[in-house]
């Protein structure tokens, strides 16, 4: 199926007006994207912007509600990964799909050979792998066991796998997330060779300096829509960052107020990276009464680690945390609750609520072990229901009653219940991690006004968001997090979005900044 007679500049792939909905959520809305022969297009966007959905539609894992996918001029049958493979589309997933206990050769041929042709097919495959390895600069030992290889080597195998299947279009989903800078350079060399040989590449990332280094063109997605398409040489990182995180939603503005005493102090805390999640690196942060601290940054730069630290899920490897001037003797989620920290988790479906539990049970999930909800180990369900009713009324949770299972609630109502659960006890410190992600405009305004009200009542608020507009309109002080490091605090209005964008891209940090 290789289309060798195409010339450079011819369109090899066209996504035409793709729309995909999941229930009420529109993951992709009228997305159109062209890919030309010998071109690298970077697909940029925050978590939840719709990048992965779009690529899953292209590869046939999902079926689009509207629009079509055209490869080499032919429309692909929707929802058929085999057709995408046969048409020459190869995908390298962020999480590799390799069998650790098999050899490199076996992994590459797996699924391509029929059961009874093992003998001669292997010699051919071996020769082919050797040829492709040298052509693309992908050095691998075909007989090595995959389990013994490094992450970079495994990625090479994934790419070889795609090339062996005659892929002419490569989709790389966050390929550099797990690579060292040296491995990244080697990957880029390979990609340049591939382009020279007439392949085309879609490169998904949110590391801006890499995008600038390898891509010819950037397509920026936000809330499922294409919000910008720019040639890489005609733009810069700050402009891209602004495109990625900017937002036109009108938000409640908070007036700056003088800060009170420090309620929580994080000093020189470092934590190890967990898997692909960035750890914290010598991070210090003060949360003061009556102040909203906004944490800006491209996702995956240590926000999760900081949120886990404050939530009680993570303990510092180095450094310490202090609450009201004293280091807590033990640190766990329950300790955090006992220290009057209200925690609004990033994922309200998976971490914030138990979907099969009813509203009452979810409302007392944090406080169930204390009076009035339980005494001497016996639950007091009438008291729990009374509390749930109170929260439903005060926080305007639209539901059928306290015994309704929470999975049937909309995201906004779920979030309001969580808000009520954590704010009703009158917390001193509030951790709001992406509190409005995925909510409609009305719910966004409601949640934000509640946070402002809690601040005015004297709480110290840490707001983590990928939406720069939200950060700028709510925060008294803004910090930027990049690769686990924290920028100095900037007072409200002292930095423009473009300047913050530079910090988000890693510039501005002290020497040792390895952003290109």
């Amino acid at each position: 199926m290789s289309q060798a007679n195409l010339r450079a500049g011819d369109t090899v792939l066209r996504l035409d007006n793709i729309t995909k909905r999941f229930g009420a959520l529109v993951a992709n809305s009228g997305v159109t994207l062209d890919l030309k022969r010998g071109e690298v297009v970077a697909l940029l966007g925050e978590n939840g912007a719709g990048k992965t959905t779009l690529m899953n539609i292209l590869f046939g894992h999902y079926q689009a509600d509207e629009g079509r996918v055209e490869v080499f001029g032919q429309t692909l049958p929707p929802g058929n990964p085999r057709a995408a493979l046969a048409a020459g589309v190869g995908m390298v997933h962020q999480h590799f799909t390799l069998a650790d206990n098999l050899s490199v050769l076996d992994n590459i041929t797996l699924g391509t050979e029929s059961l009874w042709s093992r003998g001669k097919g292997r010699a051919v495959a071996r020769a082919r792998i050797a040829a492709l390895s040298s052509e693309f600069g992908l050095a691998v030992d075909p007989d090595a066991r995959v389990g013994s290889l490094s992450v970079g080597e495994r990625q090479r195998i994934e790419i070889l796998k795609a090339l062996c299947r005659e892929a002419r279009i490569l989709i790389l989903d966050e390929p550099t997330a797990v690579l060292t800078p040296q491995e990244t350079d080697a990957l880029f060399d390979t990609l340049r060779k591939a382009i020279a040989l007439g392949l085309s590449i879609i490169f998904i990332s949110h590391k801006l300096h890499e995008v600038m280094a390898i891509a010819d063109r950037c397509v920026v997605l936000r809330h499922g829509k294409v919000v910008g398409q720019v040639d890489t040489h005609a733009t810069d990182r700050a402009a891209l960052a602004a495109l990625m995180v900017g937002s036109a939603v009108a938000l409640p503005k908070a007036e700056t107020r003088p800060a009170g005493p420090v309620l929580m102090r994080i000093s020189k805390v470092s934590t190890r990276a967990k898997g692909t999640a960035t750890g914290l690196s010598d991070l210090s942060l003060d949360l003061c009464a009556g102040q909203i601290v906004g944490l800006a940054g491209v996702s995956g730069n240590g926000q999760a680690a900081l949120a886990d630290l404050i939530s009680g899920l993570l303990r510092p490897d180095q450094g310490r945390i202090e609450i009201d001037g004293a280091e807590p003797a033990a640190w766990s989620p329950r300790q955090a609750v006992n220290h009057q920290i209200a925690r609004i988790p990033e994922d309200r479906h998976k971490t914030g609520t138990i979907s099969d539990f009813n509203l009452t049970e979810n409302a007392v999930l944090e406080a169930y072990s204390r009076p009035p909800f339980s005494r001497h180990g016996w639950m007091n369900w009438p008291a729990a229901q009374a509390f749930a009713k109170d929260v439903i009324a005060k926080y305007d949770v639209r539901c059928q009653g306290v015994l309704q299972r929470i999975r049937l609630l909309s995201g906004g109502n779920m979030q309001k219940l969580i808000l009520g659960r954590v704010l009703e006890p009158g917390p001193k410190i509030i951790l709001a991690n992406q509190p409005v992600r995925g909510l409609d405009v009305g719910a966004i305004a409601y949640v934000q006004s509640r946070l402002i009200a809690a601040r005015d009542a004297g709480a110290a608020v840490l707001l983590i968001s990928e939406d720069l507009d939200e950060i700028q309109s709510l925060s008294d002080v803004i910090h930027v997090i990049s690769e686990g490091r924290l920028s100095p605090g900037f007072a409200r209005g002292s930095k423009t979005a473009a300047e913050l964008g530079l910090w988000m891209a890693g510039q501005g940090f002290r020497a040792g900044d390895h952003a290109a």
């Binding site: 609750v337 988790p345 138990i354 049970e361 944090e366 016996w378 639950m379």
Partner: protein
């Protein structure tokens, strides 16, 4: 083809599908009977008569249900917290060993029954404590450890019965001394074969139900099982809850062994349990892990076993039909339950 959740399943769906599963089970049983060269209707009729057709049959079924209620509860409790205890068989034997050790003269008579019961529960709890600690501390899969403990325990019982616990008056048979009369569970009424273990099992089911629904430990247990991550985030001490659940589960399974020895057999032998620990998994799954429903499903499963024995003698069809009946009943029921919550869509 893929599955899609149904937000509010209709009543027809929730009642019709389990009924259909029952019908499918009967069809499979009929085919098996045909295969064995017997009249399917006669075979099914004889199973039902053999299980509940006479006072004797019914009491026999309830007797057989007693250990199944205990092991069913043990599994239901553990599975509720997503602690996969496959080792009820081992915990059952731990309870049986203690019943014999303390019931043959070691404890003064007025207290012997409660004392053996409590120590049997402790022994069963200890057997599951190891795998639970390995799981919470080191992340060792409890399916493997609890399953393997069954074999260790069976071999240990075999050693005991050939060695230190062998009855010197037993004519060389590998069985223990008989329990003292005071250590035996009395029969519910003179002349009936049913013993008080059945009543205790029903009480245990109610107690477990109350623990799950009314206590904060029950709330924690359900939270850990429904969403481990959310429970941990909310401050539920997840590891402690898993350990406590393991202790409760092991203790319940041990009562099965205790009541078989003290209520029915009067001594320990290697064939004390024909797989009650494993059958407990079927009982708990059929009951959807609801402790009160375990009573019903245990009686249903016991009835199939007892009825099949009677049928086998009358119709000459092997008793293996009982195992296949239960297996197909479980498979159809699990499928029916899945399909009440999900529907199959194309593409």
């Amino acid at each position: 083809m893929r599955l899609e959740p149904i937000p509010n399943p209709s009543l027809a769906r929730r009642l019709g599908l389990p009924a259909a599963a029952l019908v499918a089970t009967v069809v499979v049983a009929s085919l098996l009977a045909l295969l064995a060269g017997a009249n399917p209707l006669a075979v099914l009729g004889q199973i039902v008569t053999g299980a509940v057709g006479s006072k004797f049959a019914l009491l026999e079924t309830l007797n057989r249900a007693t250990p199944l209620i205990f092991t069913g509860l043990a599994v239901a409790v553990a599975f509720k917290a997503k602690l996969w205890n496959i080792g009820a068989e081992a915990q059952l034997y731990a309870g049986a060993i203690v019943a014999v050790l303390l019931g043959t003269g070691a404890v003064p008579s007025p207290f012997v029954l409660p004392v053996t019961a409590v120590f049997a529960m402790l022994a069963g709890a200890l057997v599951l404590l190891g795998p639970a600690l390995l799981k919470t501390r080191l992340g060792v899969d409890e399916v493997v450890t609890t399953l393997l403990f069954n074999f260790i325990m069976l071999l240990f019982v075999s050693y005991l019965l050939e060695g230190p616990m062998k009855d010197p008056m037993g004519m060389g048979w590998p069985k223990s001394e008989a329990l003292l009369k005071e250590a035996r569970l009395p029969r519910i009424a003179e002349g009936l074969r049913l013993h008080w273990g059945f009543v205790l099992a029903m009480i245990a089911a109610v107690v477990v139900y109350v623990i799950e629904r009314r206590t904060s430990f029950g709330f924690e247990m359900r939270a850990v099982g429904s969403n481990f991550g959310a429970a941990r985030f909310a401050g539920v001490p997840v590891n402690r809850v898993l350990i406590q659940t393991a202790l409760l589960s092991g203790g319940l399974a041990a009562l099965a062994g205790w009541s078989e020895v003290a209520g029915l057999k009067g001594h320990l032998s290697q064939d004390l349990s024909p797989g009650f620990g494993y059958t407990g998994i079927i009982v708990a799954m059929l009951a959807l892990l609801n402790p009160l429903a375990v009573i019903g499903t245990a009686i249903f499963v016991a009835g199939i076993f007892v009825g099949s024995d009677a049928m086998s003698r009358a119709a000459g069809v092997p008793t293996y039909i009982a195992d296949m009946l239960l297996a197909s009943a479980l498979l159809f029921m699990v499928l029916a339950i899945l399909l009440t919550k999900m529907r199959v869509v194309r593409g």
